[in-house]
Every structure is written in structure tokens, then in C-alpha cells.
Amino acid sequence: MPVRNALEALTLRPTEFLRSAWPWRSLVYLSGGALLGFATVLGVVALILVGALLSIVAIGLACYVATILSGVVVARMERRRMRLVDLDELPDPHRPVTRPGVRGWLAVRLREQATWRELGYATLLASLLCWMDSLVVGAVFYEVLTTFGAPFYMVDEPMSARLALAAAGVPLTLILAWPVTAWAGARAAMARAILAPRAHDADERLIEVTRSRARLVDAFELERRRIERDLHDGAQQRMVAMNIQLGMARLELPAGSPAEKYLVEAQTLAKQALTEIRELIRGVHPKVLTDRGLAAAAGEVASITPLPVDLQFSLPGRLPAALEITAYFVIVEALANVTKHSGATSASVSGTVDQGRLILEIRDDGRGGAKPAGGSGLVGLADRAAVLDGTVAVASPAGGPTVLRVEIPVPPADRSPPAARTGRPAETRA
């Protein structure tokens, strides 16, 4: 079994252990630990002093913050140094900082548990560990100097005694390799226990990932709105105006003119283009959703679904935009699935908010047997919901009915939604 760290090295046969680099590595590690500890003490004391002197100005505060963050620096050094006595790398527990600038970095670091654990380690290092390190290293140097140096400084002793002492230094020094390595190993294990990433660091990372996914949804949402605006203000306007001009031109033509045929054809094309742009916009960004919210938009989806759809929505006003758009597309895809695969004669969609979760249920009286695998669209639907931490459950026994239940947590509204102005209650039937 290959040895991975200083503590394991202690289990080697003495000859092997003494021939290995572990005692030397341990010694270097402990010397470094002593130096790092004293540097930390000096640095922090200096920062606190400067901070205290300048505490009326921002620099003072910055020094205090720097003191708190000294742990981050110390821990980074410690992770590097630990390679000396432990071949297993110690991973960095910090999250990557995505926001630029010092403020962004501070905002992330000061909110991390790991930062505070590292500060704890730095405190322990400065107050206890570095003194122990220096004690051990000092003891080694003292022993080496007193024994091997004996022939040179014990001038009033007989040479035989001096040489005997120097000779005794050899086993003594060899024996010292064990406590040095043991302390180095134990100390590294302690550091590892404090500094290793914890499960909730990972949780924090998960939360961050979730947040960034939600941000992505928001970014897509903004982009969709921009596309919709551009289409509306550009191509759509011009097509409408062109259509008017063509209509006016037709009026000017004498009846039965050969040019009329071409104009009629041109108008037909213009109308088709307008219809296409309209459908495109509906797919990109449903206008009613922005203006009136989920219940109204679901009503529009129901009205273009080729089978009767019963709607029951009771929502507490508008929901956050990202949630609305996700829920909307979930309904669109679910109803498209019903139309394509189920052979149903009717369907129903209900939406409620219960205990901070939006619950959508899409039922149909079709043949059932919907399978999440394959091109059933259920996977895409689950993907959409998953982005916002939502879940999708399907009950679809052979012979039907199929019930699709989508639950998505309602995120705290980060933007004030447009005031719901509605001339109609959210309860609609289609």
C-alpha cells in the first residue's frame, strides 16, 4: 500500500521510513507553518493597528475586512503547503466569483461559510499551531546542534566525551524523525478537517447554480422580449404598411386590369407573411402573458387548441416573470402533447398556488400510456420545469385518463410585476 501522507508514513518499516523523504518534508512543513503563523500574527496585528488608527475612515473598515479575509490567504497557503505532507490534494471550498471587481469578490466571500472557517483556522494557527511548530522545529535544531556540535563548543570536556555525545546524536536524530513526522501529520490532518469543503459548501454552490439558472431564464426572457419588440416595430410595421399601399393601388386600377391579378397575389403574400410573423411572435413571446398574466395566456392557448379545454385558475395576482413564462410553455407543450398523442376529446388545465408552489394540472381523457421516454415531449417539459427547481409527475394508465402534475416553487419576486389590470376574473372557461 503506497503511503499517501505523513501519518501513514509512520507505519513504514523504520529503515524505509528513515530513507524516505517524509521526515524531511515534515520538517520543512513545520518550519513553513511556524513562519506562516508568525507572518499572520504580524500581518493581522499590523492591519488591526492601522484599522484602529484609521477607524474613522473607510480604510479602517477595509483593514478590518482584510483581517477577516486574512484567513482566505492563510488557507490558500496552507492548501499549497499541505502537499508536502499529504499527497491528496485539498480542494478549494470557495465558489468561483462571477461578478467583477473587489466588491463582487467581497460580496461572495463574506457570505461563504468557508471564509469563516478559514478565519478560524488562521486564528488557531496564529495563537497555537505556529508556536507548537516552532517548538518542534526548535527542539530538532537544538538536539542536532547540541549533539553534533559538541566536538566544537564543549571545549572544557575531554574529546572522548564530546565524540560520544556527537555519536549519540545519530540515533537521537533518527528517533526524532518520528515525533516530527507525527506532529506534522497530525497538524495537517487538523488543518484538513477545518479547511476541507463541507457538504453545505456544495449546497451553497447548488443554490448559486440554481440562482444562475434562474438568471439565465430571465436573460432569455429579456432577449425574447427584445426579439418580439424588434419584429413588431420593424418587419411587422412595414408589412402592414405595404399591405395598405397594395390595397390602395388596387383601388386605382380599372376593373379587369391585367395588373390586378398581380396585386391580389402580392396582398395574399403580404398577409401570409403577417400571419407567419404573428405566429412567430406568439411562439417567442406571448403578448397576453406579459400584459395579463398566466390565466389569460392559458386561455389563449386553450382557444387555439383543437379540442375543448376546461380552465380553472385561481392565482394570487401576477407571478414572477420567469415562472410565468416557464408555466406558460409547460401548458403549451402539455396541450400540444395531448393533441398529438392522446386521442383525447377534451382536456382541462388548472393552476393554483399552494404553500409557495405553483401547481399546474393538465388532464385529458385520452388513451393514456404516456411514456416519459421517447419523443413524447414530456422530457422537454420536465427540463423546462427543472430549470426553476420544479418537478413533473405523470399518471397515465393504459386506457387513460392522463394527469400531468407540474409543481414549481414560486421564487420571490425580484421585479415588481406589472399591475394586473383585468376586466375579467381569472376563472375562465374555454
Binding site: A241, Q245, M248, R250, R278
Partner: protein, 217 residues
């Protein structure tokens, strides 16, 4: 009827606004104001007291549905004010809100592509100014699409007639559209009103509203 209506146009796209204005002038109507946002629309209506308002749904500053909201607000102040709303969207949500404003008379909801059918469009404007209700065929098609059971009891011809009724056409208009006699149209109408449990009404317009109310569920 073309006694020359006094029209206020609200539309944020300059090319469309000018296109519509030019077209209406050509038909002998007077465009007393052509404005680009909802606030200007309110001012223009207060100042000019037009015979009819033509407005786009979305307008600055928010580009959501300011035009529609302005139209509804104007009709709340003056239920008699005829308003024709032009939209890029089939969405019946907007059409429904408009139909619910005021007494539901003298309103129109048309898709912008309908403007290209110049003669029909101007006729629709005159009809709205005359207190009738006009709904875009595309919106009506969506409403009919909801396929409630009683609708299944209608014959194909009756469904056609129902659709044309919902668009706000008179018996004469329906007869022309389907190339049948007015007597035949009246027969279809009576038959379908009975099947749908709607009150038979000799007044064209009230009947249109009953049909729309039915279709909107």
C-alpha cells in the same frame, strides 16, 4: 354612408399611421388628429370630439396595451364614443375586454392586416361609427374553435352563418358573403339561434352581441 367621419388615429408606427390617414382621406373622411401615444390620444379626443377613434393596441411608453386601455378608459367616460381597435394579435383577451367596455356597441376589433382590404376596412369603420360591433374573422374563428357541444349540433352552413354574424355583419352582408338570398340567411339564423338557446331578436345588433356573448362563454 360616407358623410365624411371625423376620425382620430392613434398608432405609434409612422408609416402605418400615415397609410391609414391617407386612405381615410381618400375615402372622404377627415382625420382631425393622428397621434403616436395614449396620452396624446386622450388629449386629441377631448379636444376634437371625433365621430370615431382608431387606435393601435400597443403604444409608448410601455409598449404593452396602452392603446387598448386608453380606448376602454375613453369609453368609460363616454360610452357612446365609437372605437375601432387595430391589433397585430388575434388574442381574444383584448377583444373581450373591448367588447365589455361601455354598452358593447360601437366597437371594433380588427387585425392590422385587414386594413389592406381597403373597402372592407373603411366599411367596418363606418359601421363602428354607426354604433355596430365588428370583430375580426380570425378572432371569431378562434372563438368558434372552442367547439362547445351545442355548436356541434349546427350544420356546416349554420356555423358559417354564425361566424359571419359574430364578425358583426348584417343579414345583407351575410347573404352577400355566402352568395345566398337574405331569406335563406334569415332561416339559418332562426334555426341556429334556436339550437343555441339564444333569444330570437329582430335587431341585427343585439343579436350580434348575443352571439358574441355566447361564443365567449
Amino acid at each position: 354612408m360616407s358623410g365624411g367621419l371625423r376620425v382620430v388615429i392613434a398608432e405609434d408606427g409612422v408609416i402605418v399611421r400615415e397609410g391609414v390617414a391617407g386612405m381615410l382621406r381618400k375615402f372622404g373622411h377627415e382625420v382631425v388628429a393622428a397621434v403616436g401615444d395614449a396620452d396624446e390620444l386622450r388629449v386629441a379626443v377631448a379636444e376634437h370630439k371625433p365621430d370615431v377613434v382608431v387606435t393601435d393596441v400597443r403604444m409608448p411608453p410601455g409598449f404593452s396595451d396602452e392603446g387598448l386601455q386608453a380606448a376602454i378608459a375613453l369609453r368609460a367616460e363616454d360610452p357612446e364614443l365609437p372605437v375601432l381597435v387595430l391589433s397585430q394579435y388575434v388574442e381574444q383577451t383584448y377583444a373581450s375586454e373591448l367588447l365589455d367596455s361601455g354598452p358593447g356597441a360601437g366597437v371594433g376589433y380588427l387585425l392590422k392586416e385587414r386594413i389592406g382590404e381597403v373597402t372592407d376596412f373603411v366599411e367596418a369603420l363606418v359601421a363602428v361609427a354607426g354604433g355596430r360591433t365588428v370583430v375580426d374573422p380570425e378572432v371569431v374563428r378562434q372563438l368558434l374553435n372552442r367547439r362547445r357541444d351545442p355548436l356541434n349540433r349546427l350544420t356546416a352552413r349554420e356555423r358559417e352563418v354564425l361566424g359571419l354574424m359574430a364578425e358583426g355583419r348584417s343579414n345583407t352582408g351575410i347573404a352577400r358573403g355566402l352568395r345566398v338570398s337574405e331569406a335563406a340567411v334569415a332561416k339559418h339564423i332562426n334555426s341556429l339561434l334556436t339550437k343555441l338557446d339564444l333569444p330570437p331578436d329582430s335587431d341585427d345588433h343585439r343579436r350580434v352581441r348575443a352571439v358574441l356573448a355566447y361564443l365567449r362563454g
